[in-house]
Subunit: 198 residues, 2 copies
DNA sequence: CGAGCTATGTATAAGGT
DNA sequence: TACCTTATACATAGCTC
């Protein structure tokens, strides 16, 4: 009701690559970019069959990591190469399972995304099962991040889907209706000052 | 001078995030995206004052890494966190098994595994147990609501465990330490931009 | 290969709700 | 606080040299 002002969104602004001063923006930017970075890493991995590990330590020393197949195995090899002067380049011969090996690993995570896509496009998902809880057990801390990202995407799709249904049946549905199923504070307070809740 | 035809560039095409088949493209894409990934990592580091390490193993097993301040120091801290569950170093107290602050080792997956329970306990949102393996299209509106709410809560649970409460006051770190950007682990010819894939 | 181009897909900075 | 919208900066696929 108070929007008469012509405050049109500015759209993306150009920013310089130096430390963000505003704590508020810092938090937002950190989240967004960290997510984006992990996404890019996942894509590089999927597209090229490469193994990628990303570790991020926030200024507050919280640890975030992404890894395919797993950060540890990659780090392991990284360290091995790093301290093993023996024969860095002269790998005897690469068995043809190189690429496949990677892809296989990738498949696990990509499968989740794929299922999601399948749900969206065709309506025949039931067969393969839609067991989101299964892969979790196999996922490591690092991969959890990616899983979460997938959840967000799925949520949007569900919302879209529900929207269609709602429109069709003319029922009024509020997804995040106040007092409804909304889960406001989830238990943790985020104060730029404070930290955890342990 | 042989472009007499108005062969206009196609511009960027949309691609599927699946393994690239053409070796030629694979190579090119790997190079470009790896560079892009490192760039993003550098920006995240610079903008947010975070420490970031990225390790990439090409299908041919070449190693590429980016690290601020250095991949090793970051890896070091990552491993410390990851493999010392009983190390009181960063453990404020002994939370149950349901995480809160740091992502100490093993209990992590279990926590997620019980997300439905957890959700129930804290918010009773999921309606007392939602079936994640059902195809979306067979769900009704109400169920969609619950489903989405569950997703949202789960997302937050996961996030809570892994993160947030990030940056407090920053630290004065040297992000772009000279010579700390990228490194070649093999001995190939190395350009700050990247190396050949072999 | 790596560098440069063009057109276009994506990631995101701001600001609103 | 989180998410949505808008406008735009930025990354990059397909080609050429």
């Amino acid at each position: 009701m108070k929007n008469i002002d012509k405050k049109k969104p500015m759209g993306r602004q150009k920013i310089e690559i130096k430390k963000i001063e505003k704590k508020n923006n810092l938090q937002v930017t950190f989240s967004k970019r960290r997510t984006g970075l992990f996404k890019k890493a996942a894509q590089l991995s999927a597209l090229c069959g490469a193994e990628v590990a990303v570790i991020v330590l926030s200024p507050a020393k919280n640890v975030y990591a992404f890894g395919n197949p797993s950060a540890d195995s990659i780090i392991d090899r990284f360290l091995a190469r790093n301290s093993s002067p023996s024969n860095p380049k002269t790998t005897p011969s690469s068995p043809p399972h190189d690429v496949l090996h990677s892809c296989e690993a990738v498949g696990r995570l990509e499968a989740v995304k794929e299922r999601e896509k399948t749900v969206e496009e065709s309506k025949e998902v039931s067969g393969g099962g839609f067991r989101w809880d299964e892969p979790i057990d196999e996922l490591g801390l690092d991969e959890l991040e990616q899983y979460m990202a997938s959840l967000e995407v799925l949520k949007k799709k569900v919302r879209t889907r529900a929207d269609e249904i709602a429109m069709a049946s003319a029922s009024s549905l509020n997804f995040f209706a106040p007092g409804g199923i909304a889960m406001d504070q989830n238990g943790f307070d985020f104060n730029e000052d404070g930290v955890c809740l342990g």
